[in-house]
């Protein structure tokens, strides 16, 4: 059985992905990180379909780091789909994006995001942000236990 994916990083910028993963690894916050380059891929992963058919709903990622400006399906759509389905509803999602636009923040919270952070331009700030997000959600936070998702599986399609 493949190791459980700890973080699903949804971001279309390879550079941002690389810098983020580097930070997370440097501080040993996550070992298994899955990258999705667009919203469609993210949904395939989360809903165990397409190229991710072999996945199971029993082992969702501990955290989804979600960028908003994505090709095909954008971040808020992914969030909406996740929150609409019992099997993915409880997965913690942190929006990590360049935009600080009010309407994005408001919509994000309306859709039930757990946290919203802006990607800083300043490198020191950026590192600090990744580090602290990782620290909180991977270490301090109690991720939803397996039962959270097992119970809903019975109702799932």
């Amino acid at each position: 059985m493949p190791d459980r994916i700890e973080i699903l990083l949804v971001d279309d910028s390879p550079e941002d992905v690389e810098l983020t993963i580097r930070e997370l690894r440097r501080h040993k916050l996550a070992n298994h990180i899955q990258v999705a380059e667009d919203g469609a891929e993210a949904l395939d992963f989360l809903f165990c379909r397409g190229s991710h058919q072999c996945r199971s709903f029993d082992h969702p990622p501990k955290l989804v780091l979600l960028d908003l400006k994505l090709p095909k399906v954008d971040g808020l759509e992914v969030l909406r789909a996740m929150r609409a389905d019992e099997r993915t509803k409880a997965i913690p999602v942190v929006i990590l994006t360049s935009s600080k636009e009010q309407k994005d923040v408001v919509e994000g919270y309306h859709l039930g995001v757990n946290a919203y952070a802006q990607k800083p331009v300043d490198f020191d700030q950026f590192s600090k942000t990744i580090r602290e997000i990782g620290m909180f959600w991977m270490v301090i936070n109690q991720a939803p236990p397996a039962e959270t998702f097992l119970a809903s599986k019975a109702q799932g399609a």
Binding site: P120, V121, F123
Partner: protein, 477 residues
């Protein structure tokens, strides 16, 4: 109605009033004239009555003298009484004319004499009988003479009255002629003036009609222009936003990777190599800050004002507290006072004070003891808020550039800054319908003044050219 048509109407009104007054006076005058004419005729009639009544008395007397019958005596008696009555009334009638009064007085003895003569005759008859009476009548010369004199006197008086009548009739006619002339001329004048007023009003209405048309056209043009500008404005703002937004990611990468190289390969490089990498990172970082500030500026432009009655005094004190970290280790005297409440957006107004006061703190860095003052004063009856410092100041000849985006009046090594702070302040103040300006002297300090007017209602009907100007200035830098 303009003032000229009002004046004309007033003139016409005055003339009509004058005509009315004159007509009324003329009527009164006319009545008086008629009275006089009547009066004259009365006098003439009275004089005539005197003659008739004397004649009646004569007739009665003669009849009695000839016949001795009582009915002639009665006739004589009636005539006598009548004459006496007439002579009593005559002086009153001639009161108006002293000449006639005099004439009346001359008439009286003549009439009295004649009456006496008549009475004598009656006596003779009574005493001496028929024959004596007939004799007396036959010898009537005395009677004739007296009568003649009376007739002359009365004739004279009648002539005088006739003359008077003639004069008075003449006067009356003249008055009437004058009155007619005045009325005709006055009315003609009034009509002319009213016609003139009519023309003026017509002409002015025509002019006004043209002016209204011009205005309508101008309004339409203005509305079209406003719509265009609003559209352009929205496009520019979203352009500015997406530019700033899309610049962020690459900047993050430049800063990020140069730092990564420094971290992972730093030890392998020499001092110069590391310094170059740092420069890359710094450059990206600085650009990132500029982008953030530009985004801030653009956002303020798009934001709607959320007005509340705000205590500026409290707001400023909060800002001073927030600035405490920047002021650590420095001696700064804050003088805050006289600030009243204002209707404004508290979040944006806080930004104004943050920018102004952090500038004050920054530019007083070289002073041992910085003095920063915030207060309110009155200029031309309008409240003006000011922020003053005793820092390095700036040259007034460059004051026009102060609020331009990216415009700086000091070299970067001396005082850091992006040059957008004051542009943001100006934006916010303008949004509130106010004005901002500054006065300064090199090494004496600077004072920034601003007013808060009546705020714009952000329904998009007011075109904001400000951001376009600011973006253009950015290009010039």
């Amino acid at each position: 109605m303009t003032s000229s048509s009002k004046a004309i109407a007033a003139c016409a009104l005055i003339i009509l009033l004058c005509i009315g007054t004159l007509s009324f006076w003329g009527t009164v005058q006319d009545a008086k004239d008629r009275e006089w004419v009547t009066h004259t005729l009365l006098v003439v009639e009275k004089l005539q009555a005197v003659r008739i009544d004397i004649t009646q008395a004569e007739t009665g007397q003669r009849g009695y003298m000839l016949t001795g019958q009582d009915r002639y005596l009665e006739l004589y008696g009636a005539g006598l009484n009548q004459v006496r009555q007439d002579m009593k009334e005559l002086p009153d009638l001639t009161l108006d004319n002293p000449g006639e009064q005099e004439a009346t007085r001359r008439l009286e003895p003549l009439v009295a004499a004649r009456l006496a003569e008549l009475a004598d005759g009656i006596e003779v008859r009574k005493r001496s009988g028929l024959l004596a009476g007939v004799e007396a009548v036959a010898k009537g010369n005395i009677g004739e003479r007296s009568m003649h004199q009376i007739a002359i006197q009365i004739g004279e008086m009648r002539q005088t009255e006739a003359q008077l009548l003639g004069k008075r009739l003449e006067t009356a006619a003249a008055s009437t002629r004058k009155m007619k002339a005045v009325i005709v001329c006055g009315n003609a004048l009034a009509v002319l003036i009213l016609l003139a007023a009519g023309f003026v009003i017509h002409w002015e209405t025509g002019r006004r009609g043209l002016a209204e048309q011009d205005l309508k056209q101008a309004n339409e043009r203005l509305e079209r222009r406003t719509a265009e500008l609003s559209e352009t404005n929205i496009e520019l703002e979203s352009f500015a936003y997406s530019v700033a937004h899309d610049l962020r990611a690459p900047l993050r990468h430049i800063a990020g990777y140069s730092n990564v190289v420094l971290q992972d390969y730093g030890p392998k490089l020499d001092g110069e190599g590391r310094r170059y990498l740092e420069k890359i990172g710094d450059g990206a970082q600085k650009m990132g800050r500029l982008v953030d500030e530009l985004l801030n500026l653009s956002r303020i432009g798009r934001q709607e004002l959320s007005l509340h009655d705000t205590s500026l005094d409290k707001l400023v004190r909060h800002v001073v507290e927030d600035l405490a970290p920047e002021c650590s280790g420095r001696e700064i005297e804050w003088r805050i006072g006289g600030l009243s409440s204002a209707e404004c957006d508290p979040v944006l107004m806080k930004q104004v004070f943050v920018n102004l006061l952090s500038n004050a703190v920054k530019y007083t860095r070289k002073r041992e003891r910085a003095v920063i003052e915030v207060g309110e004063t009155m200029q031309n009856g309008v409240p003006v808020i000011f922020a003053r410092d005793n820092g390095v100041g700036f040259e007034m000849q460059y004051a026009g550039k102060l609020f331009g985006v990216f415009q700086r009046l000091h070299k970067a090594p001396d005082f850091e800054g992006t040059g957008v702070g004051l542009a943001i302040v100006q934006r916010i103040i303008r949004k509130h319908g106010g004005r901002i300006w500054a006065e300064a002297e090199i090494n004496k300090g600077a004072t920034f003044f601003f007013t808060l007017g009546s705020p714009e209602n952000n329904t998009g009907t007011k075109p904001e050219l400000a951001i376009r100007n600011e973006v253009m200035h950015a290009g010039q830098n």
